[in-house]
Symmetry: C2
Subunit: 335 residues, 2 copies
């Protein structure tokens, strides 16, 4: 296994140009205190030799990596299947561009050791994590030696040890539930998300809040898992149990879409027989029949805020610890 690396080094450029290594370094890094004529001459040599800085050496010497890691959970297929993540990443990448920092997307291996080695190994200056299933102890170990920003709130709020950017899940769920109540529904079922998801918990809470504020008792609540198939299963369970409800609020759009399929197959008309609402406003939510009432979350903005926070922390600036972005009710024809 021979070393493939291009092998043309600062030293070689310096020799060829008849200057010192330090000078070439300055020129390559755009330090202003250098004679323009000399810089020009050196740059010619740089191009001619095809010099490319060795990033490992650079970060070893400079003690900074010039990169931010985006750590995504192991479940690759789900990650890529959900448009929500795409929007988030687009927002992050947008802010990152032109910052001089690189974005490394890392698919977290099951082995947390590998993950920590990577983050603490000096290859990145900060990390953006997707909060899904992250051990608190692991998290605090990370943030002890590296700026860490979470997408979504920490699941364990007792020890708010790190920065995060969340969206107002609770408020959004309250809006949509209130909307259903205002439409006259008095018996609203909910398909909730996974137990370990803070977002799912918050959406459930918003649903409960709206009921309490209206003095109305909550309807049946069944468990779901944020997938379309899970929505199908939950809806079938709901109907099979003979629960009497005139509306169902699914904790995300994928489950809402699965629910709509079940209702249609059972001959129920939406929204006349039963109304359906979701959460996320994925692109296809506008194209379902009928179009889905849902809650829009500003994913791109969330991504941008995450990146901004990470970069600010790297720069040593003060950053507010928790940021919660507003959500918006999108009323369509399914309610």
């Amino acid at each position: 296994m021979l070393p493939r690396h291009s092998a043309v080094t600062l030293e070689q450029v310096a020799r060829q140009a008849g200057v010192s290594r330090a000078t070439v370094s300055r020129i390559v890094n755009g330090v202003s205190t250098v004679d323009p004529a000399l810089a020009e001459r050196v740059n010619v040599v740089v191009k001619q030799l095809g010099y490319v800085p060795n990033l490992s050496a650079r970060s070893l010497a400079s003690r900074r990596a010039g990169a931010v890691a985006l750590v995504v959970p192991e479940d690759v297929e789900r990650f890529f299947g959900d448009p929500f993540f795409g929007a988030l990443v687009a927002g992050i990448q947008g802010k990152m561009r032109g910052s001089g920092f690189l974005l490394d997307v890392l698919i977290a291996a099951d082995d947390p050791r590998q993950t920590s080695d990577l983050l603490l190994g000096g290859k990145v200056d900060a990390a953006i994590l997707f909060s899904h299933r992250i051990e608190q102890s692991f998290m605090s170990m990370m943030s002890a030696s590296l700026p860490v920003v979470l997408a979504g709130r920490p699941s364990d709020a007792t020890e708010p040890t790190c920065h995060y950017v969340d969206v107002d899940n609770r408020g959004g769920a309250e809006f949509v539930t209130r909307h259903l109540l205002e439409r006259g529904h008095r018996r609203i079922a909910m398909i909730r998300g996974p137990e370990d998801s803070p977002a799912a918990a918050d959406r459930l809470q918003g649903y409960l809040d709206a009921h309490e504020a209206a003095g109305i008792e909550p309807g049946p609540i069944v468990a779901g898992d944020f997938t379309s198939a899970g929505g199908v299963a939950a809806a079938e369970r709901l109907l099979d149990e003979g629960a009497s409800c005139t509306a169902v609020f699914a904790a995300n759009d994928l489950m809402a879409i699965g629910t709509m399929g079940v209702l249609r197959r059972r001959g129920l008309r939406i929204p006349d027989d039963i109304a359906v609402a979701g959460f996320d406003d994925v692109p296809s939510a506008a194209d379902t029949v009928p179009p889905l009432t849902t809650v829009r979350q500003p994913s791109r903005e969330q991504g941008a805020a995450l990146a901004e926070a990470a970069l600010a922390l790297v720069a040593g600036e003060q950053v507010e610890q928790g940021q919660v972005l507003a959500t918006e009710l999108i009323v369509r024809e399914s309610t």
Copy 2:
């Protein structure tokens, strides 16, 4: 901006354990020629101090990075919206795990310089590229100093300078078109993919091949862009132009799904009034109404083959330059 890095070094561990740096290095790297008792003692210190190897220093000294880059095109939203990519990445990641190599997903900035600096900067030992829009000159520059493997065939086949793993797009398109012809269709429209995509070109060619083999003239061909919205637009254009066809073959499933929506909205019955076929076999293709006839491409296997090739090249092994994986016709109820 203070250096955040954990600062606990091999040297410190060595001092604390009363051994030399070299010994600690050997233990950390699992070199067998070391006294088990000593190793045990040192490992205690390693944990106690929370030592984590500095990866920059390691790759500088060892002249290898222990990582493979996956370079994806700039269009983040499209990338994440398409389950095909998810499967590909899952396949890559699956092979990579346990190889000791890390997978860095890099979203290529518009600036090719940044990309090349990154790939040639010694932070990765090999690169897997998605062939979409890559300049030939750029490519050959990369592969001159780094093993490069392409997902999909090179767009410019004249100079087969690099390794690639493709699927049999042409064959798959021919299968599905022949299937439609065998069903009795004599006028089959095609919604093709983007001009600059080799996969799109191959699928179009397969469609033409099948017609030629049957001695039947191809139907109308309209342009698409591999997105669902693009499929909607293309289908509408097709119908508005009053093209008479009894079947439509979309170059990928997302466009086929968009097309089905348009047909349904216009009151056309699938497959009675008009048949629809796609390409990719994304998960949701089985859940459309009616389920979509399509071509399955072995994306996970393609990903695995890509990773395998990249790792083999890093190891200095010989690798066959072009690999083409078979595709399979999946007949469902839309045709």
